[in-house]
């Protein structure tokens, strides 16, 4: 049931090669300047709506990257926060970006500063609005909860990797009546965000959101390549299921589509003139 080598079923090598080509070709296309299309996910409309309602209330907006260590997910979370900051800069709505990681804090300062410049409002940038509270899980959580309650925050945006302490953010946000939008790749936290927030961006959608906003070639190309792979999987399932219905589940062709040992069974059957 498991592969020690691709030779256990060369179908695996073929499918990996096709997906690798799809990803690499699209990355180089994007790097070459081609305009790859990524659709605007509904989550972004939810973000804009939350921004609109928070400006009416005139109260601050919080952005929380959670305990995300510096890495791919943290960089993309900051891309989304940059977009939000540029939107709220038009209405001079105050913002607070609260981090639990010193490296993320340093990079966030830079990102927010660029956001205000790009929005043409460098005067609004205040270094105190980006804060490093604590690198300890529950100390960070109580720090964020305290701020949300004290400043009666209007909207709260949570993007990145989250663990159990996210419940405290969501609950405090609900108590002060804040609009809450979350986006995370940590699937075990998604159910709680869906139950507690106004809208939740789930799993791969998180990468699509930051790709849409940053137009970063490697990310765009990779997402388009992954879509091709998903279509390939769906096609294999459809063809395979119909074939299994007509020819039976134990047919060598079914074994070929992914079962270790399936390659030899298939070709022995075909060459054996069955």
């Amino acid at each position: 049931m498991s592969y020690q080598h691709a030779a256990d079923n060369w179908f695996s090598a073929i499918i990996i090669a096709i997906i690798a080509m799809a990803v690499l070709l699209n990355i180089f296309r994007a790097r070459g300047g081609a305009q790859l299309y990524i659709r605007r996910i509904p989550g972004l409309d939810a973000i804009d709506e939350a921004i609109g309602r928070s400006t009416e209330m005139g109260r601050p907006v919080t952005m929380i990257p959670g305990l995300t260590a510096f890495g791919v997910v943290a960089v993309q979370a900051l891309t989304i926060f940059k977009y939000i900051t540029k939107q709220i800069a038009k209405f001079a709505t105050p913002m607070r970006l609260l981090t639990a990681n010193p490296t993320v804090y340093a990079v966030a300062q830079e990102a927010i500063h660029d956001a205000y410049n790009e929005a043409g409002r460098p005067d609004l940038y205040d270094p105190d609005n980006v804060r490093f509270l604590s690198d300890r899980q529950f100390a960070f959580a109580s720090g964020v909860a305290g701020l949300i309650q004290r400043e009666r925050v209007a909207a709260s945006f949570m993007f990145g990797e989250f663990y159990a302490e996210s419940l405290i953010f969501a609950e405090t946000g609900n108590i002060v009546g804040a609009i809450q939008i979350a986006g995370t790749t940590s699937f075990t936290q998604v159910p709680f965000f869906v139950a507690a927030c106004d809208y939740t961006i789930i799993g791969d959608e998180f990468y699509a959101t930051s790709a849409y906003l940053s137009r970063e070639p490697v990310l765009l190309g990779s997402l388009v390549g992954q879509d091709i792979a998903k279509f390939l999987f769906a096609l294999t399932i459809a063809v395979g299921a119909v074939f299994a219905t007509l020819k039976g589940v134990d047919h060598p062709f079914i074994k070929l589509l992914g079962m270790p040992g399936g390659w030899d069974t298939f070709w022995n059957a075909v060459l054996g003139g069955r």
């Binding site: 030779a7 791919v72 960089v75 969501a170 609950e171 709680f192 490697v218 990779s222």
Partner: protein, 282 residues
Amino acid sequence: MWQIDTTTLSGKVSMALIVLGAFVLAFGLIPVLQTLPPRGRRALIAVVTFLVGAFFAAEFFMPLTQDDKNYLTPGIQPAQNALQIIGSLALGLGTYGLVRLHLRNVVQKRGQWGYSVVLLIAFVTMATFSIWNTLAEKRILARTPLLDRGFSLLFDYTLIQLDAAMFSIIAFYIYSAAYRAFRIRSIEASILMFTAMVVMIGIVPLGAYMSEQLFGLPREVPPNAHPFSLEAILYSLRLPEIADWILKQLNAPVQRAIEFGVGIGGLAMAIRLWLSLERGIT
């Protein structure tokens, strides 16, 4: 050829020299490496990453010479042990960073540095006992009552208790969130909540008890009953059966679709990391 007989004195001396030489080589190489320009450095890192990745990828993709082995397979096992060592050095990095941070807090008398002293004393004491205990197990050091009693107090009755207590707090946050955060405000949230409630009751003995006592559903089905007979249908309406069906028939395909998304995303990420296409991260 790869082995030196360390039982003889000359063997021991030559081995000591080799160890010394290895350290001198590693740290002597640093000034040479420093002369590399930034572009050269990135190239060196990219080449190292690519070569290590290529070795494991090649071992997977190359055709087999005899049963389950190809030309590169013998190299896998020693490479694994080397990665185990590097992995543990990387794990030690976290500890190094933590100790370094709190030492600085104490030296610079940064706010609340008293707690950093507590942390460092706990660190040193536990490190001593843990290393001593592990060495005693391997019969390299003697096992004394002081070790047994000290390690047991620090491990079984302090570290274990603190760790267990720290993670049990989350239940309190879930309970207060249940009261004030979990809103059934949209179709999505209501689907999620309804499924969660059925599963929560269906998988515990209470679900079976309620199905039998409150709804009077049959406890089991006669083996030869027709799948669409009344008993079979009533039996399948029991809460445990419904919960198992939701988990097996509705939840499994959803998890598999998520798996495919994660797997394809993982493959794309592995390729990007292998070829150092990911900018700004490594």
